[in-house]
């Protein structure tokens, strides 16, 4: 797999405080890589370092093998879409999109052709002569995208581009953005704090926290095998319970939760052996409910019930005091279950995170 962009040991310090790093990231040719994390995790700083708007304190940036660490943004060959679009309010849509081409001294005739072509790609024909304030939020977003794409950058950077859209439009734009990205085959780095966006759009996701990378992987890998406590708790819903490893066979382990409660699970990486401490992760949608005395089921009591519409969320408490979340479809069978009821719970596909 060919690399488009490499971040080598990038560090950003402000005075004595380290805001970012050291981090290493490889962006593969043509992929959509997402930087995901809570606010202040360093994802926007990373994006700004790639764009050249922030200078790293340490480290190197290679774009297609060329060291661009010291290169100012105008000379970097990147397209950046801002959260608030940052369209030039005093220029028409055509002029906005043409800006980067003009800076590159592209002949006028060619500019007209390329601007029209890219506006078609983003699905916005016939708006060339309008001004940004005459467009809707979704349309502005497309213009911002077109403006970044028209210069045919080596890499496209998207800084939370969907966060200013309303919920409905946001869902539609996710798919559309991904579709355009794949059609053009453009290497893209996408920044978001929204894991749904990250899952739906990305080839790979980088989970960041506190200026560090927590985990890199496909959306599935991130959801299925979180490597750290933070990754397990930030992505999706999870019940996290401390446990001791009771048996090991390859990556199949048995976790002992105390009080005679043992659960088979898969280790996300090799455990330190029998008796070592670990964290058990159970996803609520992988918990099934049955009769209290059913085989393989753990006896638990419903301690809380939250009706969510299409699903019902139960909180279950085991005899040893541990609590687990359980999310079930909103069907009659489960609707009648109320707090205080004793049930049998089967925790499927649990994961064990060693040492966490």
């Amino acid at each position: 797999m060919q690399l488009a962009l490499t971040l080598e040991k990038i560090v950003k310090r402000y005075g004595a405080t380290t805001a970012l790093g050291p981090i290493d990231i490889d962006v593969r040719q043509g992929e959509l890589l997402t930087l995901l994390g809570p606010s202040g995790c360093g994802k926007t700083t990373t994006l700004h370092i790639i764009a050249g708007l922030t200078t790293p304190t340490e480290g190197r940036l290679l774009l297609n093998g060329r060291n661009i660490t010291a290169l100012a943004p105008p000379y970097r060959d990147i397209g950046l879409v801002f959260q608030n679009y940052a369209l030039f309010p005093h220029r028409t849509i055509a002029e906005n999109v043409a800006f980067g081409l003009r800076m590159r001294k592209v002949p006028k005739a060619e500019i007209t052709v390329r601007v029209r072509a890219i506006l078609n790609v983003v699905g916005l024909p016939n708006v060339e002569e309008r001004y940004p304030n005459q467009l809707s939020g979704g349309q502005r977003q497309r213009v911002a995208l077109a403006r970044a794409l028209v210069i045919e950058p080596s890499i496209l950077l998207l800084d939370e581009p969907l966060s200013n859209l309303d919920a409905l439009l946001r869902k539609k734009m996710r798919l559309e953005l991904r579709e355009i990205q794949q059609r053009l085959g453009i290497t893209t780095v996408f920044v978001t704090h929204d894991q749904d966006e990250a899952f739906e759009m990305s080839d790979r996701v980088i989970l960041m926290n506190g200026g560090h990378i927590e985990q890199i992987g496909s959306p599935e890998a991130l959801y299925d095998s979180p490597q750290t406590r933070f990754a397990a708790s930030f992505i999706g819903e999870a019940s996290l319970t401390p446990c001791t490893i009771a048996q090991v066979r390859g990556d199949d382990v048995v976790a002992d939760l105390g009080g005679g409660m043992t659960i088979p699970a898969k280790a996300v990486r090799p455990v330190d052996g029998v008796g070592s401490q670990a964290l058990l992760m159970a996803r609520p949608e992988r918990v099934t409910l049955s009769e209290p005395n059913a085989t393989d089921a753990l006896p638990m009591t419903i301690s809380k019930r939250v009706f969510q519409g299409e699903r019902i969320l139960f909180e279950l408490t085991a005899a040893n005091g541990h609590a687990f979340q359980c999310s079930v479809p909103s069907i009659e069978k489960y609707r009648e279950m109320q707090p205080g009821l004793n049930v049998g719970a089967v925790l499927h596909e649990c994961r064990v995170i060693p040492g966490a």
Partner: protein, 285 residues
């Protein structure tokens, strides 16, 4: 594409600042420093000054009753003008924050307009207004308070009135800025806590507008203590302030060292005033 460092941001900022830097250094700071340093030199009728260090200029200003009187008058008048301007300016600034937004533009314009006409026009306005054939005398005679027009020019009170008029806009706007910058929820918050309106004003609004008060006071004190035109035209023969003294010393008697010493004292007064104000302000937070 040339290789251009992205670290050039600081460099670009420095480049942007360089015109004003050069201008201030060469035509403001260095000349003022040079001028003030003349105060330590000896006066010479032939060549402006002789570079012989001396403190005579200062001792003359401090021990000669004539000069001491002028310095005292300048500080007194400037303080009086600053305080009166502060009270009136605060009222106007407060009014501007409360006036309906449709009227605010015109109300501001009416305060800025006098400022824009310049010192000389406003001083002249007072000459016309208070002259023996002016409107005020005409009204006083018409009402019957006086029988014949009285001379209102040529005294300190008139100078103070005119200076307050001239300085007022400089006080209003810094205070207005500090009032507008306040969190509008503070006053309702104070009142829900049981503070009465006046109490709220003195305990919340006024202390929070201190930065505007300091800024306005410094500007007004500085400009008042350095004023020449208004004092010269309205103050008459008996009244002299430091600005005029410098003017006379340098343009009439060409005594640069003594003129510089007066200017240095003037700057010193302002410095004391500014540092006093800033200390007060720091204590507040």
């Amino acid at each position: 594409m040339s290789q251009q460092s992205s670290r050039a941001g600081g460099l670009f900022g420095a480049a942007l600042m360089s015109p004003i830097g050069i201008l201030y250094l060469c035509f403001l700071l260095l000349p003022i420093g040079f001028f003030l340093s003349l105060s330590f030199f000896t006066y010479s009728a032939q060549q402006m000054y002789v570079a012989e260090p001396t403190l005579d200029n200062y001792s003359r200003l401090i021990f000669d009753g004539y000069y001491r009187r002028i310095i005292y008058d300048t500080i007194r008048v400037s303080l009086v003008v600053t305080v009166i301007t502060l009270v009136f300016g605060y009222a106007l600034a407060y009014f501007l924050t409360r006036v309906k937004s449709t009227w605010r533009g015109i109300m501001m314009f009416l305060i800025i307009a006098p400022l824009m006409t310049g010192v000389i026009v406003r001083t002249y306005g007072w000459i016309v207004l208070l002259g023996t054939d002016g409107l005020v005398n005409a009204i006083l005679v018409w009402i019957g308070i006086v029988e014949r027009p009285i001379s209102m020019l040529g005294n300190e009170k008139t100078v103070i009135v005119a200076l307050v008029h001239i300085m007022l806009p400089y006080m209003v706007f810094p205070i207005f800025s500090s009032l507008v910058a306040q969190d509008p929820h503070l006053v309702p918050a104070a009142s829900t806590l049981g503070a009465k309106p006046l109490r709220t004003f003195f305990e919340v609004t006024l202390p929070l507008s201190r930065s505007g008060i300091v800024m306005g006071s410094v500007i007004v004190f500085t400009m008042t203590s350095g004023s020449i035109v208004t004092v010269e035209l309205l103050g008459g023969r008996d009244m002299t302030m430091m600005g005029q003294l410098i003017y006379q010393l340098i343009l009439s008697t060409f005594n640069w060292p003594l003129g510089a010493a007066v200017a240095a004292l003037l700057v010193l007064c302002q410095f004391i005033m500014i540092s006093y104000y800033f200390r007060k302000m720091r204590r507040a937070y």
